[in-house]
């Protein structure tokens, strides 16, 4: 077995070799970790391991996934205490001394086992006015937008969010202030604030500047560190703070 300097096990497979996987099992807030021994294979992801347990060891295990290729954002879980997209996380990269711990996403209620309830996450997306309010009807021509304009570049920097809630699980401010809108909703709001076609900027800026909004961010940058798409919600939130400050100075907020 090759061992990485950080203790992770790459090329972990060998005949009879297993990984000791501790999965969180339970309903709502009651439950605990249950250990399963899973065969170690080359090139298996965390999602492969969870699927192996569900199909071969205990078919009552609940978990969520869809595309398996890092597009849909459904399969995020806590792996060894860190939020990750499990379909794109190589087991050998995160297994430490033959052990893994997989739990449901932090900062969200648990429905069952590894399935977190995403309702608060998407409710906040709505509360931050994350819906696009277009300035034209479908009967009109599409508005030409210059891709190299400063506003479009700012919007494009955050547009690839897949709403996996990894940033939300990584955010300590959400843990301390459960009503805080969180990095994903604010990042979405920032992309719309820079979309020249959108007509709800004033209401949105008011929404993200309210007591549970962007000013709660301490710029810890955990959202940026763990975002699987390498987005920077901290920068988006800083942009919203600056935008709100300018509006407040002009008496427009």
């Amino acid at each position: 077995m090759d061992s990485e300097p950080d203790g992770s096990d790459l090329n972990a497979s060998a005949p009879g070799k297993t990984i000791a996987v501790s999965l969180w099992r339970g309903q709502g807030s009651s439950g605990g970790l249950v250990r399963y021994d899973v065969p170690a294979r080359d090139n298996q992801t965390i999602l492969d391991i969870v699927t192996h347990i569900q199909r071969n060891i205990d078919n009552t295990l609940s978990y969520r996934f869809s595309c398996r290729v890092g597009m849909c954002g459904s399969c995020a879980m806590m792996v060894n205490g860190v939020p990750r997209w499990t379909c794109r996380t190589h087991a050998g990269r995160v297994t430490k001394n033959g052990r893994l711990t997989v739990e449901p996403l932090r900062n969200l209620p648990v429905i069952k086992d590894l399935v977190a309830d995403m309702t608060p996450f998407f409710d906040k997306w709505q509360k931050a006015k994350g819906g696009f309010a277009g300035n034209r009807s479908r009967a009109e021509d599409i508005e030409p937008i210059r891709p190299d304009s400063a506003q479009r570049r700012a919007a494009d920097a955050g547009i690839e969010c897949i709403n996996c809630a990894i940033c939300y699980a990584a955010c300590d401010v959400v843990a301390w202030q459960p009503d805080y809108l969180g990095p994903a909703a604010l990042n979405r709001a920032w992309t719309l604030m820079n979309d020249v076609r959108d007509t709800a900027a004033k209401e949105r800026l008011r929404a993200v500047s309210a007591g549970d909004g962007c000013h709660n961010c301490h710029s810890h940058q955990s959202c940026m560190k763990f975002c699987p798409n390498e987005l920077n919600p901290t920068a988006a939130i800083a942009g919203l703070k600056a935008m709100a400050a300018r509006a407040a100075l002009k008496g427009e907020l």
Binding site: V173, W176, Q177, R206, S209, A210, G211, G213, H215, N216, K241, A244, A245, A247, A248, L249, L253
Partner: protein, 110 residues
């Protein structure tokens, strides 16, 4: 919105305090060269409206800055209603400012 205004106020007081802190640190180094002596400090500050204004500004900025910071720390650590913490912010600022200004007054006008 209150949070946007408090955010601005905290940044503005930070910008104001940055040079004040540097001058204060430099002053400490100069003042203690011959040992820390109350009479020497008072001989410099007594009747000096320049130092009185300087430290009064410092006290007011620090009172506002600290109160806004403590509002967030208090809310995140102890929870409760945001409204109560908004009122606590004002109370903390109103407590800190007179204490500091009283000390400035003692240095300059006593």
């Amino acid at each position: 919105m209150l949070d946007a205004r408090l955010f601005l106020l905290q940044r503005a007081t930070a910008v104001l305090m940055a040079p004040l802190v540097l001058i204060h640190l430099a002053l400490i180094i100069v003042a203690v060269r011959n040992g820390l002596d109350a009479a020497e400090i008072l001989s410099r500050t007594r009747g000096s409206w320049l130092w009185g204004s300087y430290y009064s500004l410092f006290v007011i900025a620090a009172s506002i800055h600290a109160a806004i910071g403590l509002r967030v720390i208090g809310f995140e650590t102890l929870g409760g209603s945001r409204r109560i913490w908004d009122l606590t912010t004002i109370l903390i600022a109103l407590l800190l400012a007179p204490l500091g200004l009283r000390a400035v007054f003692a240095l300059v006008a006593s």
